[in-house]
Amino acid sequence: MRGAKSAKWVAIAGVVALTATACGGGDSDNNGSGKVDPKGIVSYANGEPQNALQPSNTMEAYGSVVIDSLFTGLVHYDKKGDITYENAESVTPDKDSKVWTVKLKPGWKFHNGEAVTAKSYVEAWNWAADPANGQQNSAWYRDIEGYDDVHPEKGKAKKKAMSGLKVVDDNTFTITLKSGIPYYAYKLVYAPFYPLPSAALKDPKKYGEAPVGNGPYKFEKWDHKKVISVRAFDGYKGANKPKNGGVDFKAYNKDTAAYADLKSDNVDSMPIVPNSEIANFKQDFGDRAIDMDFSALNTVNFAFYTKQWKDIDVKVLQGLSMAIDRDTIAKTVFHGTRESATGWVAKGVKGYQDDACGEYCKFDAKKAKQSIKDGGGVPGNKIQIQYNADQPHKDWVVAVCNSITNATGVKCVGDPVTDFAADTEIRDQKKVKSMYRSGWVLDYPFNGNFLADLYGTGVDGNKGGFSDKKFDKLTKEADAAKTIDESAKLYQQAEKELVNTFPGIPLWYNKTLSAYSKNVKKVEFDQAGDPILTDVEVFEK
């Protein structure tokens, strides 16, 4: 299951389309004149969204991609991981990064004509934070002062509004945080921070079936389990004006069915090619195949609460990491569609540093064996890697295990669990026997998101029970930094520190693998793996 990432695209100068212009020789029969039709409709292979279409209630990919086409948030980020302004004219912190002042660009309208004001944001967030309204994403407001009154751990809301949100005037509001966060603006990119028109709060149910946003596309229809149609919004004020007439999100149940349609130009693009087609999709699509960086990282993590790892010498952990031949597995099992990881932060995020893991993430059988020996060996001389069997993890787990066993003689077996839900349940209950596979897709393109949110003592994302005082101290310092850049630098130090504790073994960086039909050109995906639909151009029929 892909995480629920939402992201839109801001056009930045100098970005070269990864893929050459659409029609290679011999392929051009379908393109007619080769002219672009600005009113053309793009069809995108999607699925039926889990929930009604409310920004604060949409986590999974099928709903997020639709929501992101309908809404434009305050800010976004570019390929370098820097903040760009969308509906906001400015988002400025005070000197402690505690009080953030948001100024909106004036004159923006919702698709129903209502003006987008400071109230459209503040009221939407307060409403979504109230557990009684059942919005799945409400934890995103937890940094704001007064969140615990509106959304207590248990029971009903004590207050209806967060004290940290204040409307100053029509186009200005302030956000007061519980404590300073220098990179808070990144969080504002996400769907729960979109504005809502007043009608949305009056009749949320009706709204969820036919959402009204402020984004590049306006909602047209939702034919359940068949298609969701959005059309270009003429009154759109943002920079990412659609270069097409709209998008039809077609519902598929299986990615293989979508792939069959894509091959026949029956659908124009899909999120990611099915695993069964990875070996041949480049051959099928030629220069219409997409292979892009995607800011996600695969790891194998240790369950530090088990007897096996409780008092382990870090040399053993480093040795296990050195025993894995990442490059060969990427080439054979993944057909070259993953890239060996060299640290705990994915590529494409602010503060990414090359080679943070150093020699410990490079395959060296001899050193691996020696290191494990020096550290006193693996207790029981056997490790297990837990994974969910409903996704194609088995092959690489077996390969990793073989690599470890061949290099060091440590026995290694896979520990399959029926599906992802069961897998996470076991992890949450801290019942993993030895190690577990893990993956992280960026929440926001900042290195802290891959560090403090995963390996800080006691944080939600820390499923292995890892705890290191020195690391905690470094991340705290990073969070207290004055600017984003400074914070990112301090986080880099924290990442370097992980070499000495080794909370998990970095394996590979992910890629977005996709393709597009002969009907369109300029199909790209951003670093969160989401399609940049507004840039897609459709050929005249």
Partner: protein, 309 residues
């Protein structure tokens, strides 16, 4: 006859309760918390999890949940989905007509082509035609259905371009032809084999010899005497196959992206939507029960010697 039907209908009640209870329990022992799973790989929000569980009645003891569920069911309320809180009845009334259409087409295909092939093979036993049919059915039975599905999709959809590779509109008859063919293939093979064997056996029977001796036309012998008596095992198979076709379409519906029952079931399993699974299977159980009743009643029509008390 009336009493027989009444008794059969009454028998359905314990079967119905038993199956629903069994499925209800089975779904509930599946590992993984369906509510927490809504958050994917992100940490779930305890307050929202509690709220959702409370709203859907998932915080009650299992037996209470079952009674609530059955109580609702008697009033035609199948409950709501965990994700999205949508009425399951809506999902079912959307999916069943699609699958029924698909199943009906596949079933007709099985019936017409299967029986025709079976009769031809049975009458011409040992000849080229018989061997061809045997070979063909052997092939169909031994090759997994998804191989045929993907193969035909590739040939007719991707290569020849006669149809779109997947079904664009699940309510369109023409588009459903290819998936219906795939769905009906295995059944067709069994029907052909059953018919062939039955016909071949009965051809030696005394009443056929009598009919031939009477000088009846060949056509009449085959259709009125031979076929009618040979159909009982075939009818049994065709009857139970209705239910199989409805629920067993998971693979075919997946390959051709048909928004039917198979898909609903597949998604329900993947999202741990217990009530969706129970709901769908409940309706399927009803279809099975009614189909098998119908089959039993048909016996009497085919063979008047069979009487119901």
């Amino acid at each position: 006859m009336g009493r027989y039907v009444a008794r059969r209908l009454l028998q359905m009640i314990p079967v119905f309760i038993g199956t629903t209870l069994l499925i209800f329990l089975m779904v509930n022992v599946l590992p993984g918390d369906p509510v927490a799973a809504l958050w994917g790989d992100k940490p779930p929000d305890p307050a929202q999890v509690a709220q959702i569980k409370h709203d859907r009645g998932l915080d009650l003891p299992l037996w209470q949940q079952y009674f609530h569920y059955m109580g609702g069911l008697l009033q035609g309320d199948f409950g709501n989905t965990i994700a999205g809180n949508r009425p399951i009845l809506d999902e079912i009334t959307q999916a069943f007509p699609v699958s029924m259409r698909l199943a009906a087409m596949a079933w007709t295909f099985e019936l017409v082509v299967g029986i025709t092939l079976g009769v031809l093979a049975g009458v011409k036993r040992g000849r080229v035609l018989d061997n061809t049919v045997t070979l063909f059915t052997l092939l169909v039975i031994s090759v997994p259905i998804f191989v045929f599905g993907l193969f035909l999709q590739l040939i007719f959809g991707n290569e020849l371009g006669w149809v779109t590779p997947t079904v664009q509109d699940s309510e369109n008859f023409v588009e459903l032809i290819l998936p219906a063919l795939v769905l009906g293939l295995v059944g067709l093979a069994y029907v052909a084999r059953l018919t062939r064997t039955s016909i071949a056996e009965n051809r030696q029977a005394d009443y056929i010899r009598t009919a031939v001796a009477k000088g009846l036309p060949r056509k009449r012998i085959i259709s009125r005497h031979l076929l009618r008596n040979s159909l009982i095992p075939v009818v049994t198979y065709l009857g139970t196959d209705i239910g199989t076709l409805m629920g067993g379409a998971v693979i075919t519906e997946g390959i051709f992206n048909v928004a039917g029952v198979g898909n609903l079931l597949y998604r329900g399993l993947f999202q741990h939507e217990g009530t969706v699974i129970v709901g769908v299977v409940t309706v399927l159980v009803l279809v099975y029960l009614l189909a098998s009743l119908l089959v039993d009643l048909l016996y009497a029509v085919l063979d008047p010697r069979i009487r119901y008390a």
